[in-house]
């Protein structure tokens, strides 16, 4: 049994320690906001926060997490100013298309804005280029991050 701190709650899971966090979230705990895209940390669809930093859940073995705090999109406090600013900006600018990559994009954007409240285009590109979007919503993601940063000012 492994103990994981996910969204502020302790979860006991009975899986091999090499199991990536992604599949514990999705298939063991039934938490589906975190998406599977590639399994090799190339696309960012599975982005979650570990101690507040954006990490890829698909190649993070649960055995290595220990006491560190994991947060997923469904566990975010919608009233948190950064979360709210980002989600509101995404809706206001109609960023989403198919929407499959967007949970990962939003988790990456929230982590970015917590670390860099007013990022430049270059800082956005650098933080977000690990997250693929096949629908090609990049121009709006960039604009939405600026929009959210403005709302937080």
């Amino acid at each position: 049994m492994l103990s994981l701190n996910i969204n502020g709650q302790s979860h006991q899971v009975d899986v091999d320690p090499d199991t990536p966090l992604l599949w514990v979230l999705r298939d063991v705990l039934g938490m589906n906001a975190t998406k599977f895209g590639c399994g090799i940390a190339q696309c960012g669809a599975c982005t979650v926060h570990m101690d507040g930093r954006a990490v890829r859940a698909c190649n993070l073995p649960v055995g290595l997490i220990g006491e560190r705090r994991i947060s997923t999109l469904e566990g975010l406090n919608p009233a948190d100013p950064v979360t709210k600013a980002v989600q509101d900006a995404w809706v206001a600018l109609d960023v989403v298309q198919c929407g499959y990559c967007q949970p990962g994009q939003i988790m990456a954007a929230i982590a970015l804005l917590r670390a860099v409240p007013h990022p430049t285009d270059e800082q956005i590109d650098s933080a977000m280029s690990a997250n693929l979007c096949r629908c090609g919503t990049y121009v709006r993601i960039r604009a939405a991050i600026h929009h959210a940063a403005g709302a937080l000012a």
Binding site: N32, G39, V96, C98, G99, G136, T137, R140
Partner: protein
């Protein structure tokens, strides 16, 4: 989105869809021709009358879109089109809401169960096909509700209107919610030709509306096929023979079953596919690795990328089908003083939707349920009926949000595969393809070779044009009756025959060459995307050859096409075509008419090195007829361009020993944010023409506009995709 009800006979279908409702209106949804766009109208008599409104009870055919108004005033729109990012739920709601007199927020959406024969979402056809029928459905429902209210109030119908889900008696200001008269309205005859609103009075259509699926998608609540959780489900992952037509030679089943969590190893001998079932995906994945599958590669073991290209180039000579002809182009070319010939080559392309292929099925002795994302629910249902032998009304397809379609989910082989494995187990089985399986067993956009020859007048303009396309006919497998009796696939006419240009003499030929060992299929615009790269590249070559400005050259060719000319002029103006560029930058242009829409695009690029392209800016001017939701048209063009740039610059599926060599996003490069254009400006032309398609328009422009800009930057042509392919170097040498 709630799970749709089962299909069955018309009566029970109606019963289920209308369950508990007071008014249920059905509208016939005209089937798009193919799952893709055609700029040509369907042949006479091919489709039933569009926009016919029927009362279910009298329906002579199965309708497949519904407005349901419940007595508690809940309004539900049941739609056959699937939402895969293109914003179709939003524009469908707008069309109905506008005529019915309700607010966007008052509408719930359900996915229609299969059964109407038209559940194909593809080819940028959705708005085109639903523009009239959905408005008519809304207007008919409005008319019946108003009639019912007017009768109750004992007032004239003309004194009533609808607003925000209520009927309003204008002189007195009295109101009644729709729900209170819905039962009465349902007893009235459905008007066959309801009066539609004057577009000048529209309050929703033509004005930007927020997407109705944004909130659930940014909060992670949208249920994609991947997210389906059926009680008791197990997770499977699969491996099919890596070489098409090969067979299973051996495996270590014991090793797989020894992995913790693995429940079963299933084999489909007919398709040479193995499925490992486990409690969760990771255990299934480990089990699949532990199998150490061995394969007999079979007859296609020799296939390489070069095999495919050689076969395509070979098709440039010898017999071909004449697909379109005007005048005697070959004779004019034979006698012309000046001619110009160019050969273009395009690769196999994968779809690589962000959501890998997946399907969940529960096959029981008495029924079968399927949960998946599909652009073609009817075929998903039919395949299960065929495999299980169950009656049609016992098979239910629950359509989920689609994490990227791009034509991939016009295929249903993954549904067939899932049902075949699910038949072998008593529990619901969710099959998830690894990204590696998704890329190596995709059904690919075909590779093509095109050759164009033009006879030129003294000013360098076309007097005759011949064009030969060599490649597969996708429709021959996907919808065989649509292959013409000569063996032509009319999808190939998009952006070739269907073009903003007119030529004095023209001949289009098609030499069919099917690729061995792989399956080819639709993509985000097969005909339009492949054709536009060739045609707009060639026109650009001719402009350069004539020493003409590429915009001015096209303007001269478009003199009799005001809509095309207008988008080109506006794009040139908006992009500052005639203004000087910073050092090191170059511009390229492309003009198109495809999927019923016009667009001109201009890209501004910089190439610090021959293999490094910075896209500084793209300007696109679109005339897609009447715009329903302007911001979503802009969004589709932005995204379509980036999708197309990704393929144009980087993507090529290659084969070695019959095996696809690209397996994940480390070898299948997708444009990232830092590589995407810094700026995309999309401008919409005001128009009252019927709406054209938009989902594939941006993608079609991407390769030609970028290739033409890169040609201007580097002073050489780019006739081979991907643009960063080393083959473009070889291409260069052939040019005089």
């Amino acid at each position: 989105m709630t799970t749709p009800a089962p299909r069955s006979t018309l009566a029970s279908r109606r019963q289920i869809l209308g369950g508990g409702s007071a008014l249920l209106l059905a509208t016939f949804w005209p089937a798009p021709r193919q799952g893709r766009a055609q700029g040509t109208p369907p042949p006479a008599g091919a489709a039933p009358e569009q926009g016919m409104l029927v009362d279910n009870a009298q329906a002579a055919f199965a309708p497949n879109a519904y407005i349901r108004i419940a007595t508690d005033n809940r309004i539900t729109l049941i739609l056959p089109n699937v939402e895969m990012g293109q914003g179709i739920y939003t524009s469908s709601v707008m069309l109905i809401a506008e005529e019915l007199g309700i607010d966007m927020a008052q509408v719930d959406i359900e996915a229609a169960p299969p059964g109407g024969g038209a559940e194909i979402t593809g080819g940028s056809t959705s708005v085109m096909t639903e523009w009239l029928p959905l408005r008519q459905a809304g207007a008919a429902a409005r008319s019946m509700l108003v009639q019912a209210a007017a009768t109750r109030w004992q007032v004239a119908v003309a004194e009533c209107t609808t607003r925000s889900g209520t009927i309003v008696h204008i002189p007195t200001g009295r109101t009644l919610p729709f729900g209170t008269v819905a039962a009465q309205a349902a007893t009235l005859l459905v008007p066959q030709k309801p009066t539609l609103k004057d577009p000048a009075t529209y309050t929703l259509l033509g004005r930007p509306q927020h997407r109705i699926d944004s909130a659930i998608k940014v909060e992670g609540r949208a249920i994609f096929g991947m997210d389906v959780q059926v009680p008791g489900q197990k997770i499977g992952t699969v491996a099919a023979c890596p070489v098409g037509g090969g067979t299973l030679a051996g495996m270590n089943k014991t090793a797989a079953l020894a992995i913790r969590g693995v429940q079963a190893v299933l084999v489909n001998t007919a398709n040479n596919t193995v499925c490992v079932v486990a409690d969760h995906y990771w255990a299934a994945r480990k089990g699949l690795r532990a199998l150490r599958l061995q394969w007999h590669d079979g007859l296609n073991a020799h296939v390489t990328t070069q095999t495919i290209y050689d076969q395509l180039h070979d098709g440039l000579n010898g017999p071909a089908i004449v697909a379109n002809t005007k005048g005697d182009a070959p004779a004019i070319i034979a006698h012309a003083a000046t001619t110009h010939t160019a050969t273009y080559q395009q690769p196999l392309l994968a779809h690589a939707t962000m959501e890998p292929i997946n399907c969940t099925a529960h096959v029981r002795p008495d029924g079968c349920d399927i949960w998946t994302g599909t652009q073609i629910a009817d075929r998903a249902c039919d395949t299960a009926v065929e495999l299980t032998g169950l009656p049609k009304d016992k098979v239910r397809v629950h359509c989920q949000y689609i994490g990227g379609g791009f034509g991939r989910r016009l295929e249903h082989e993954y549904v067939t595969q899932c049902v075949e494995f699910a038949r072998q187990v008593p529990y619901p089985l969710k099959i998830i393809w690894s990204r590696e399986e998704d890329l190596t067993h995709d059904r690919y956009r075909p590779a093509y070779v095109d050759q164009m020859t033009a006879a030129l007048d003294s000013r360098g303009f076309i007097t005759a044009l011949t064009h030969r396309i060599v490649g597969p006919a996708v429709v021959a497998r996907w919808d065989p009756p649509e292959l013409t009796k000569d063996g032509y696939d009319e999808d190939l006419s998009v952006a070739t025959v269907i073009t903003p240009y007119t030529y004095p003499a023209y001949r289009l030929e098609f030499a069919r060459r099917e690729a061995p060992g792989i399956v080819t299929a639709w993509w985000r615009g097969v005909g339009g995307t492949r054709g536009l790269f060739v045609v707009e590249g060639f026109i650009d070559e001719l402009a350069h050859r004539a020493g003409a400005d590429p915009v001015a050259y096209r303007r001269a060719m478009l003199a009799r096409n005001p809509r095309a000319l207008a988008v080109l002029d506006k794009a040139a103006q908006a992009a500052g075509w005639n203004t000087p560029l910073p050092p090191g930058r170059a511009r390229g242009v492309a003009v198109q008419f495809a999927f019923g829409s016009y667009m001109a695009s201009i890209a501004e690029v910089e190439m610090p090195e021959p293999d490094n392209v910075i896209i500084h800016r793209v300007t696109a001017v679109v005339d897609c007829g009447r715009v329903l939701n302007p911001d979503q048209v802009i969004s589709q063009i932005e995204g379509g361009l980036i999708f197309g740039f990704s393929a144009a610059l980087y993507n090529e599926i290659t084969l070695e020993g019959g095996r696809v060599q690209q397996s994940n996003f480390n070898t299948w490069r997708v444009m990232r944010m830092n590589e995407a254009p810094c700026k995309i400006d999309v401008l919409l032309m005001p128009s009252t023409e019927d709406p054209g398609g938009i989902g594939e328009v941006g993608t079609a422009a991407a390769a030609p506009v970028l290739a033409n800009a890169m040609a201007a930057a580097q002073g050489r042509r780019y006739r081979t995709l991907p643009l960063l392919s080393p083959r473009n170097g070889a291409d260069h040498k052939e040019q005089g």
